[in-house]
Amino acid sequence: MARREVGEINAGSMADIAFLLLIFFLVTTTMEVDAGIARQLPLKLDTPPPENLEFNERNVLKILANSQDDLLVEDKFIEIGDLEEVVRDFYTANTSGRDTDPTMPLYNRVNLGDCVNQINGITTRLEENPDDMLLKSEMNKWTIKKELCESLPTQSYMEIHKSAVIQLKNQSGTSYGLYIQIHNTIQRVVNELRVLKCDEMGWGNYFDLKPDMNEEDAVVMDRLKILVPERIIESKIES
């Protein structure tokens, strides 16, 4: 029997098909990489905190940005470029534990005993109100602190004053660009200090940490957040 030759497939229009697909992808996709600064908003409390909370002037770094995009830091006008220095000073002025700069927050030593006492105290309060979100987060924080103490040879570490915060106030006309620059500056200082802490503790490279994927890295990250906390308070803009 005669064999029938199989005809070759005409591939001439292959290029056209590929072009069509290519153009489709060019139109529907973007090159843009999404990047941003991550932040967590404060928890909405059922019971508002007491109005006249006692706080020490030195523990608060006041940053005000007005509608003309002027920057007022600790009651002095400064340029955005000088903010980094001020924020760094806020974190590092008294790291040694001595009262070197009386206008900046103090550092004090936290040891294993403190952690155990705190945890015991919170446990009894939690038994009374088991659903208190604030108590739960306190509990979580002190547990991390306790584990951190246990992991260190001295069983203690230096911690910035517990009410040390950066207070950021905006007006309705403050531009978002300036707002991001302020956040970026704070983040830069915090990252820088965390890198140093990481090196000091021998935890590897800070920027290589993947707390979402790796259990160990998540522990390190939790500890870094205790050692170099970023506490930023923003108030709602009132009309």
Binding site: L22, T30, A35, Y176, Q187
Partner: protein, 150 residues
């Protein structure tokens, strides 16, 4: 005169295009790998601020985007507006309900990060209002979108 006389007509042979599909496919695959799908059709104009500490968002499926900027369509006014998915929101009060609607299987509003893509010229007023709305429904994880470099 010449000894070797070429017979028939003399002409330039056609260019061999058999490798053309391969080249185009190569381009296609490059673009498929290097780009991402557009999330929405933009209805507000956004020039993102620059922040050198911005970190790339790893898992885009776990993020909701809120766009705030000046409307491209001049009939929508000249004041900054909020864009949720493909339409402009009437006011910031819509944000809570929208975010609730975006909740997925096994995830609450708290678990899903909200990325704010805001034009750098927009005033903080509207941003503050949106953040307050998000706080009301416990969607506390936010991300201020910014370009890493110019």
């Amino acid at each position: 005169m010449s000894k070797f006389k070429k017979g028939g007509k003399k002409g330039i042979p056609g260019v061999n295009t058999s490798a053309l599909p391969d080249i185009i496919f190569m381009l296609l695959f490059f673009f498929m790998v290097a780009t991402t799908m557009k999330e929405v059709e933009m209805q507000v104009d956004i020039t993102k601020p620059v922040a050198d500490q911005a970190l790339p968002i790893e898992n885009k499926d776990m993020v909701d985007f809120i766009y705030i900027g000046f409307p491209i369509d001049l009939q929508a006014g000249t004041q900054p507006r909020i864009q949720l998915d493909d339409r402009l929101a009437n006011s910031y009060l819509d944000v809570g309900a929208w975010k609730r609607m975006k909740e997925r299987e096994g995830l609450t509003a708290f678990d899903i990060v909200t990325s704010l893509k805001v034009d750098k010229g927009v005033g903080m007023r509207i941003v503050s209002d949106v953040k307050e709305e998000l706080r009301n429904i416990d969607a506390l994880k936010i991300n201020y979108s910014a370009n890493q470099t110019d």
